[in-house]
């Protein structure tokens, strides 16, 4: 496609198509969007991040990522739609404009490119990275159990053959370390929103311990508003709360790491499930999913803008 106006947001795309589309988006919005590379994957694919910025130096920032679990295709597809929406709404939507007039947004759409390619070529239901585990025939680490936050606890597996294998040590996965290094190096990231599918939840720390975060009430109220605004679009019902209370113990996860490293507004989404398809949601679900997620995302981002710290 030569323009974002001809890109089919209602289809699933390969990594080459997505990476090409990123360049098109940058070309269409050269004064707002740029593409940066924060590292390389295990199989040496570039880890690209879209930067939305209207200027300034090291502004406070919001980090978004989609697709750390590659089989969750609706997530990356929602990421593409959302990135385009951010670019298109700047200067039109007052909330997006206000956010980007003060803050930068960093958006990693294909957080686990090796796994994503593997879901297209070899195993549609692949969840992990593609790194080799010494002494085991099983490949890959669950990159959302590999963060240095309660790493190696009971909410992850020490078995390399498990879907929730935490890896040999925290940040052993290049895909994880690249993000951690970027956020720590930036030093001014105020919100991390890590997007998954599919359980219809909006969650916040902690996953590795039962103690509530100090601003639990604020996070809970924000989550409540966000899921309410999401439900107003198509009636999709989300649950919300801390990860430990809402799902289960999960050790070494991204948003816990972000929170423990000073990012107060750390959330993770679990996008929609029709109750029939799971990770194999038909592409007809992409636009509705992205559309309903948008107001919830905006709620979180506006709250971050209005509550500087």
């Amino acid at each position: 496609e030569r323009s974002t106006s001809t890109f089919d947001f209602a289809s699933y795309h390969t990594i080459d198509e997505i990476y090409h589309w990123m360049d098109v988006l940058v070309g269409d919005h050269p004064n707002l969007v740029s593409k940066i590379q924060i590292g390389q994957s295990y199989e040496n694919r570039p880890l690209y991040v879209l930067k939305f910025s209207t200027g300034g130096s090291n502004r406070s920032a919001i980090w978004l990522d989609t697709g750390i679990h590659p089989r969750e295709w609706i997530t990356q597809a929602t990421g593409i739609w959302t990135a385009n929406k951010i670019a298109e709404e700047y200067g039109k939507d007052p909330s997006v404009t206000a956010i980007l007039d003060s803050m930068d947004i960093f958006f990693e759409i294909v957080t686990n490119p090796d796994g994503f390619v593997f879901t297209h070529s070899s195993d549609r239901l692949w969840r992990k990275t593609r790194s080799i585990n010494a002494g085991s025939p099983c490949i890959g680490v669950d990159p959302n159990r590999n963060w240095d936050a309660g790493f190696g606890g009971s909410g992850a597996s020490s078995d390399p053959c498990s879907e929730t294998y935490h890896g040999p040590y925290a940040h052993s996965e290049r895909e994880v370390k690249a993000i951690a290094d970027f956020i720590l190096g930036h030093g001014n990231v105020k919100s991390v929103i890590s997007i998954h599918s599919y359980s219809q939840m909006l969650l916040f720390p902690y996953g590795y311990k039962t103690a509530p975060v100090p601003n639990h009430q604020e996070m809970n109220e924000l989550a409540k508003k966000a899921v309410s605004d999401l439900a107003a679009v198509y009636g999709t019902k989300y649950t919300y709360g801390s990860i430990m209370d809402t799902i289960y113990a999960a050790d070494g996860i991204a948003v816990d790491w972000a929170y423990d490293n000073g990012v107060k507004y750390s959330f993770t989404f679990e996008l929609r499930d029709t109750g029939r398809y799971g990770f194999l949601l038909p592409s007809t679900q992409i636009i509705p999913t992205a559309t309903e997620t948008w107001p919830a995302l905006l709620d979180v981002m506006v709250h971050v803008l209005e509550h500087p710290y």
Binding site: Y12, S121, D123, S162, Y277, G278
Partner: protein
């Protein structure tokens, strides 16, 4: 290329904490290769399990013998994958 012919996804609803625990035990039986798409959390909340074709009898027997209710969410995973691939090819052609 990995094929998923005959694999099913079961939507399982635990009736009490004991059944939630039993589902977790099921997940720990590595030889069954059950892939939890949605993990068991609390009674009344659904869990989704992809079960390889070869493990279906054992898993269904386990669920039934423990009085854990379930329904078949996806009859044949490979059929859906084939359909997804057809859709992508058609989309690309368009």
């Amino acid at each position: 290329e990995k094929l998923f012919m005959g694999d099913q996804v079961l939507r399982v609803t635990a009736g009490d904490e004991g059944q939630v625990t039993q589902l977790r035990v099921l997940g720990e039986q590595a030889e069954l290769q059950v892939d939890f798409w949605r993990h068991p959390t609390r009674p009344g909340h659904p869990a989704d399990l992809r079960v390889p074709f070869s493990s279906l009898p054992a898993v269904k027997t386990f669920l039934e013998s423990n009085n854990i209710s379930y329904s078949i969410m996806i009859e044949d995973v490979q059929e859906l994958l084939d359909e997804e691939r057809r859709t992508m090819v058609k989309s690309r052609r368009t």
